[in-house]
C-alpha cells in the first residue's frame, strides 16, 4: 500500500463525517467582474480587527494620513497594526458599533478621505534576498490576519520553520452566496501563487495543497494555470459539501488526518492559510501594500447589482449596499458573513473589516426567519450532519441545563459552530446559538475560576502578611517591655544606690524623700511637744495627789525637769541631724544616752519617744532597703510610747505609726497584702478593746500594732523562708497577744501598770529582732540568739515583777519603780544594739 504522501500526490481525496448540501446561490456574483467603488464619505477603522490585542495608537484627531500609513503600531506578538485605507484626515477616534455579533461599541478611527489616494513611500522587498525575519516582520507590519474569518495573526501562523509537511491553501469557500475568494482567484491567480511561494520560503513544506470546491471552475482553471510547473503544488478539487471550508474538515478531506481535540493543525505538521491571506502576503512583501482592502461579496435579492467589490477596510456596510443598488424592504435584515455562520447587523454604519467576506441583504422569501422553536424530537438528524462527530441533541440538552461538566464530557469545545445541525433540525432549534451561549458561559466561568484562584492567593498572602506583622509587633513590644523593665529595675537599683550613697554621705541636697522625712520629723517634734505639754498637765494633778506624801522635792524636780530634758533632747536631736544620717545608730544612741543622763525624772519616756520618732524618720529616709531598720525604729518608737500609758496622745501616735506601717506594707507589694490585712485586722481587733478601757487598752494596741508590723515586714523580707517564718511569727504573735492579754490583767493598778507592760513589749521587740536576724542569718545562730535573748528578757520580766509587787504595796514608790524600769529598758536596748552590731562577739 502506498504511503500517505504518495496517496495525496496521486490525487486521492477523503471525506469527513456528516456535512450538508445547502443551495449554493453563488452564480449571482461568481460570473461578474470585480466591481470598483468610489470613496465613501467616512471610513470607520476599528483598532482591532483580528484575534489578539489592538496595537498602540499612532495618530490623533486632525492628523493627515497617507494611504497605507500605519495608524497603530504592533507592540506585541499578538497585535497587528491597522493602516489608513486612503489618504485623508483623521476626524475622531471614538467608540462605534463593531463588526461583531454583539455590535458592542469599540474604539475606531473615523477618517475623512480626501480623494487624492496619496501613497506613503513604499519599499517593495525581494523575497530572494531578505531573511525570514524580515518577511515575517513585513507580514506583521502589513497588518495581515487570517482572512478566512477567524482573523488569527498570520505572522504567528507562518513562523513555524520546521515540521511542516503540508501547506494547505484554503480556497474551498463552502458557504452559500460567498464568491469573494472565487473572484480573487479568477483575477489574481498569479499574485496568489507569489504569496504561496513566500509562504513556502517561510514554512518549507513537503507539498502545497490548494483545496477548491468543484463549483468554481474558472478559479480552478486559473489556479491550475498559475501553478505552472511548480514542483509539489497540487490543486485539489473537492466536491462541494458544507462545511468543507472548515480548517479541520478540509485537512481531513485532503490528507485524511484529523486534528486532535484541543490541538492545532501544526501539531500534525499542517499549516493552512486562506487564499486571500496568500494574496495579501504577496501584496505586502512584493508591493508593500498593507492590508487596506479586500474583496467582499455583496449579494441578496434586494440588490439590483449583486457583485464582488474591492472594498476598503472601514467602509460602512450601508455604503457598500447602496453602491450595489440596495432597496430595503420592510424588516430588512443584513447579514455579515455567510448565511450559515454569519450574524445579522443591527446598524448599517458597521464597517467592513479584514475578516468580512460577504454582506447579504436578502428578501424575506429568499432567507426566511426561522419559525418558532419546537421541542427536540430526538430524530438524530443533527448527529448525522455534524462534521465534528458530536452529539448535538445531547449538547443542546446539557446547554439548556447549564451542565458544564457534561458539556465538556461531550466535547462542546470541538464544535466549529458550522450550523449544519441547526440546518437539518426539523424542530428549527437554533442549536448553534445554544452552544455559543454555553461556550461563552464556560469561558466566563473559567475566567471566574482563575480570578477566584488569584483572589484566594492574594487573600491568603495578605492574611499571612498581617499575621507576620502582628508577630513582629508583638515581639517588638515584648522586647520593649523587657527593656523597660530592666531599665526600671536599673533605675530602682540606682535609686536605692543613690539613697544609700546619700545616707553614706550627707543630706546636703534635699530630695523628695528627704523633704518627706523632714516633714515627718517635724511632725514627730510637734507630737513630742504636745506630749510634753500634756504630761505637764497630767503631772500637775499627780503632784497634787502626791503632795501629801513626804517626798515633795522629787515632784517639783520632775515638774521642771521634763522641760529641760525636752530641750536637751531637742538639742541632741539637732546635733544628731547635723552629725548625719550615716550615724543613724549612734544618733539613736545619743538621744538615748542623753535621755539617760537626764533621766532621773519621769521625762525619760518622752525623750525616748522623741528619739524613737527621729529614728523612725531617719529609717524612712533610708529607703525601702532600710525597711527592716524602719521596722525596728517603729518598734522602738512603739515601745517608748507604750511606756507612756497614762497619756491620751500615745494611742494616737501608735495608731499613726501603725497606719504608716500599713501604708508601707501595702507599698511593699501585693504579695504581702494578705499579711497587711491581717495586721490591720489585728489592729482593728486591738482597737475593739478600746471602748472598754482607753487607758489600759493603749498598750495592748501598741503591742498588737508592733506585732503586726513585725509580721508584715517579716513577710516581705523573705518569701522563700515564708513557711518557717510565718510559723515562727504566728508563734511569736501568739506570745505577743498573750502578753498583751496579760498586760491589761496585770494593769489593774493603774499607776503601776507601766513596768510589766514595758517589759513585755521590750521582750516582744527583742524577739522580733531576733527573728529578723534569723532571717538574714543562719537558723542555728538565730535560734541561739533567741535562746540567749529570751532568758534575758525573762529575767528582766521577772525582775520587773517584784517592782510591780512593790508598786502595788507602796504608793509612794511608783516613781522610783518607773525610773528603774526605764533604766532597765534603756540598758536592754543598748545591749540589743550591741548584740545586733556585733552578734558573734555578743554570742
Amino acid at each position: 500500500m502506498a504511503s500517505l504522501f504518495q496517496q495525496i500526490k496521486s490525487g486521492m481525496l477523503w471525506d469527513f463525517h456528516g456535512g450538508i448540501h445547502p443551495p449554493a446561490r453563488k452564480t449571482q456574483t461568481s460570473q461578474k467582474p470585480l466591481g470598483r467603488l468610489s470613496l465613501p464619505e467616512r471610513l470607520y477603522i476599528p483598532l482591532r480587527q483580528h484575534i489578539g490585542v489592538a496595537g498602540k495608537l499612532l495618530v490623533q484627531p486632525g492628523d493627515y494620513v497617507l494611504k497605507g500609513q500605519p495608524l497603530t503600531a504592533a507592540n506585541n506578538a499578538m497585535a497587528v497594526p491597522v493602516h489608513a485605507p486612503t489618504s485623508g484626515h483623521v476626524l475622531a477616534i471614538d467608540d462605534h458599533p463593531s463588526a461583531h455579533p454583539s455590535a458592542l461599541p469599540e474604539p475606531m478611527i473615523v477618517m475623512v478621505p480626501d480623494g487624492l489616494e496619496q501613497w506613503r513611500e513604499r519599499q517593495p522587498l525581494d523575497p530572494e534576498h531578505i531573511s525570514r525575519q524580515q518577511i515575517l516582520a513585513r507580514i506583521q507590519d502589513a497588518g495581515i490576519a487570517g482572512m478566512g474569518g477567524a482573523g488569527f495573526p498570520t505572522h504567528i501562523k507562518s513562523s513555524a520553520s520546521q515540521g511542516v509537511d503540508y501547506l494547505i491553501i484554503n480556497a474551498a469557500e463552502c458557504e452559500p452566496y460567498i464568491t469573494a475568494d472565487d473572484a480573487l482567484m479568477q483575477t489574481e491567480a498569479e499574485t496568489i501563487m507569489q504569496g504561496i511561494d513566500i509562504l513556502c520560503d517561510l514554512l518549507s513544506p513537503k507539498a502545497v495543497l490548494i483545496g477548491i470546491e468543484d463549483d468554481k471552475p474558472r478559479a480552478i482553471a486559473a489556479m491550475q494555470a498559475a501553478c505552472g510547473n511548480r514542483k509539489d503544488f497540487y490543486v485539489r478539487v473537492v466536491p462541494a459539501k458544507y462545511p468543507s471550508g472548515g480548517e479541520k474538515q478540509l485537512i481531513q478531506r485532503l490528507t485524511s488526518k484529523e486534528v486532535p481535540a484541543g490541538r492545532r493543525p501544526l501539531d500534525i505538521g499542517i499549516v493552512m492559510q486562506n487564499v486571500g491571506t496568500a494574496f495579501a502576503i504577496a501584496q505586502a512583501v512584493l508591493h508593500d501594500i498593507p492590508l487596506i482592502s479586500r474583496i467582499v461579496t455583496v449579494v441578496g435579492e434586494t440588490l439590483s447589482r449583486p457583485q464582488n467589490v474591492l472594498a476598503l477596510v472601514g467602509t460602512p456596510v450601508g455604503f457598500l449596499l447602496d453602491s450595489c443598488g440596495f432597496v430595503a424592504e420592510a424588516k430588512q435584515r443584513v447579514i455579515m458573513g455567510g448565511p450559515m455562520m454569519g450574524f445579522t447587523l443591527p446598524s448599517l454604519q458597521i464597517p467592513i473589516v479584514k475578516t468580512s467576506n460577504c454582506i447579504i441583504a436578502p428578501t424575506d422569501a429568499e432567507l426566511p426567519t426561522t419559525g418558532p422553536e419546537l421541542d427536540c424530537i430526538r430524530c438524530g438528524a443533527c448527529a448525522e450532519a455534524c462534521p465534528a462527530t458530536l452529539l448535538p441533541q445531547q449538547l443542546l440538552w446539557f446547554s439548556k441545563a447549564k451542565d458544564h461538566d457534561k458539556l465538556k464530557e461531550h466535547h462542546l469545545s470541538d464544535c466549529i459552530e458550522c450550523g449544519a445541525c441547526a440546518y437539518v433540525c426539523p424542530s428549527e432549534i437554533p442549536l448553534v446559538h445554544y452552544y455559543r451561549v454555553a461556550k461563552a458561559e464556560i469561558r466566563e466561568q473559567h475566567r471566574d475560576e482563575l480570578k477566584a484562584e488569584q483572589a484566594k492567593a492574594r487573600f491568603e498572602a495578605r492574611n499571612e502578611r498581617l499575621e507576620r506583622e502582628k508577630q513582629q509587633r508583638m515581639a517588638k513590644n515584648q522586647a520593649l517591655a523587657a527593656q523597660r523593665q530592666s531599665m526600671l529595675a536599673e533605675q530602682q537599683k540606682q535609686q536605692i544606690a543613690d539613697a544609700a550613697s546619700r545616707v553614706e554621705t550627707t543630706a546636703e541636697t534635699l530630695s523628695k524623700e528627704q523633704i518627706i522625712a523632714e516633714r515627718e520629723r517635724k511632725k514627730a517634734e510637734a507630737r513630742a511637744y504636745q506630749a510634753a505639754k500634756a504630761q505637764n498637765q497630767v503631772e500637775n494633778p499627780a503632784e497634787t495627789k502626791v503632795e501629801p506624801a513626804p517626798a515633795t522635792e522629787v515632784n517639783t524636780d520632775t515638774a521642771t525637769d521634763p522641760r529641760q530634758s525636752a530641750v536637751a533632747a531637742a538639742i541632741a536631736r539637732a546635733k544628731a541631724k547635723k552629725a548625719g544620717i550615716s550615724e543613724n545608730a549612734e544618733a539613736d544612741e545619743v538621744p538615748a544616752s542623753s535621755a539617760t543622763l537626764d533621766s532621773d525624772k519621769a521625762a525619760d519616756p518622752r525623750s525616748a519617744a522623741v528619739a524613737a520618732a527621729i529614728a523612725r524618720a531617719k529609717a524612712k529616709k533610708a529607703g525601702i532597703s532600710a525597711d527592716a531598720e524602719a521596722a525596728k525604729a517603729a518598734e522602738v518608737s512603739a515601745s517608748p510610747i507604750a511606756l507612756d500609758t497614762e497619756k491620751a496622745t500615745d494611742p494616737r501616735a501608735a495608731a499613726v505609726a501603725a497606719a504608716i506601717a500599713r501604708a508601707k506594707a501595702k507599698k511593699a507589694g501585693i504579695s504581702a497584702e494578705a499579711e497587711a490585712t491581717k495586721s490591720e485586722d489585728a489592729v482593728a481587733g486591738a482597737e475593739n478593746t478600746t471602748p472598754v478601757d482607753t487607758e489600759k487598752a493603749a498598750d495592748p494596741r501598741a503591742a498588737a500594732v508592733a506585732a503586726a508590723i513585725a509580721r508584715a515586714k517579716a513577710k516581705k523580707a523573705a518569701e522563700a523562708t515564708s513557711t518557717i517564718t510565718t510559723a515562727d511569727l504566728t508563734a511569736e504573735t501568739a506570745v505577743n497577744t498573750t502578753i498583751a492579754a496579760d498586760v491589761p490583767v496585770a494593769a489593774s493598778p493603774v499607776a503601776d501598770a507601766a513596768d510589766p507592760r514595758a517589759a513585755a513589749v521590750a521582750a516582744a521587740i527583742a524577739r522580733a529582732k531576733a527573728k529578723k536576724a534569723a532571717e538574714t542569718q543562719q537558723e542555728p545562730s538565730a535560734d541561739a540568739e533567741i535562746n540567749q535573748i529570751t532568758p534575758e528578757t525573762e529575767t528582766k520580766a521577772v525582775a520587773a515583777e517584784p517592782a510591780v509587787i512593790e508598786a502595788s504595796t507602796n504608793v509612794v514608790a511608783p516613781t522610783d519603780a518607773k525610773k528603774a524600769a526605764i533604766a532597765a529598758a534603756i540598758a536592754r536596748a543598748k545591749a540589743k544594739k550591741a548584740i545586733e552590731s556585733d552578734q558573734e562577739k555578743s554570742e
Binding site: 445547502p22 443551495p23 446561490r25 463593531s98 461583531h100 455579533p101 454583539s102 458592542l104 469599540e106 452559500p176 435584515r333 447579514i335 448565511p339 450559515m340 450574524f343 445579522t344 436578502p362 422569501a365 429568499e366 432567507l367 426566511p368 426567519t369 426561522t370 447549564k402 441547526a422 440546518y423 428549527e428 437554533p430 448553534v432 446559538h433 445554544y434 455559543r436 451561549v437 461563552a440 458561559e441 466566563e444 466561568q445 475566567r447 471566574d448 480570578k451 477566584a452 484562584e453 488569584q454 483572589a455 484566594k456 492574594r458 487573600f459 498572602a461 495578605r462
Partner: protein, 183 residues
C-alpha cells in the same frame, strides 16, 4: 461439608487479608471537604454570607450551614455545592440579592489618601500611600464592597463591569436565518 466450610472460611480470611492490606497500601488521600468547598466558592472574600471570608463559610458549610448564602457564586456555585455535598440545591437565600459583577472605582480627585480602603481590601487590590491618591487594580478587584464603608469621603463607587466583546454572551434572541431551496 466440613471441607467446604473450611475452604470457604479460608478463602474469606485470605481475601479479607488482601483487602485489608490493599486498603492500607493504596489509601487515597481524599481532599478534605472544607478545601473542596472552598475551591467552589468564588473567593471574593466579601462576607455577604455572614462569615469573614470564603474559607470560614466553607468551614461553616462543612459543619452543616446552608449552601445558598453566596451571592457572588450564584446558582452555579450552589449547584456545585449541592452535588458535592449530596444535598438539594436551593435558590439563593432571600436575604441576599444575586450579584451583578461589579468593581470598585475610586473617584481619584476626591480621594484624601486615608488608606482606610487599603486596609479593608481583602485581596490587596487597592494601591496607594498615606496622603496619596489611591486607585483600584480593576483586574484584582473581586467587587466585595468592603472598601465602600470605610471611606470617610464616600469617593468609592461600585461600577458594573462593562461587557466587552470577549465577555459577551450570545443573545439567544438573535434571529437565525434559514436557507431554503428556491429553485
Amino acid at each position: 461439608m466440613l471441607i467446604a466450610l473450611l475452604t470457604l472460611t479460608g478463602l474469606a480470611l485470605i481475601f479479607g487479608a488482601i483487602l485489608g492490606y490493599a486498603a492500607i497500601r493504596f489509601k487515597v488521600e481524599a481532599d478534605p471537604l472544607v478545601d473542596q468547598i472552598d475551591d467552589i466558592l468564588p473567593q471574593t472574600q466579601c462576607g455577604q454570607c455572614g462569615y469573614p471570608g470564603c474559607r470560614p463559610y466553607a468551614e461553616a458549610i462543612a459543619n452543616g450551614d446552608a449552601i445558598n448564602k453566596c451571592p457572588p457564586g450564584g446558582d452555579a456555585a450552589i449547584k456545585k455545592l449541592a452535588s458535592l455535598l449530596g444535598v438539594e440545591a436551593k435558590p439563593l437565600d432571600g436575604a441576599q440579592t444575586p450579584a451583578i459583577k461589579r468593581v470598585a472605582y475610586i473617584r481619584e480627585d476626591e480621594c484624601i489618601g486615608c488608606t482606610k480602603c487599603i486596609q479593608a481590601c481583602p485581596v490587596d487590590a487597592i494601591v496607594g500611600a498615606s496622603k496619596q491618591m489611591h486607585t483600584v487594580i480593576t483586574d484584582e478587584c473581586t467587587g466585595c464592597d468592603l472598601c465602600v464603608e470605610p471611606c470617610p469621603v464616600n469617593c468609592i463607587d461600585m461600577l458594573p463591569v462593562p461587557t466587552s466583546v470577549e465577555r459577551w454572551k450570545w443573545d439567544l434572541q438573535a434571529i437565525p436565518v434559514k436557507m431554503v431551496e428556491t429553485n
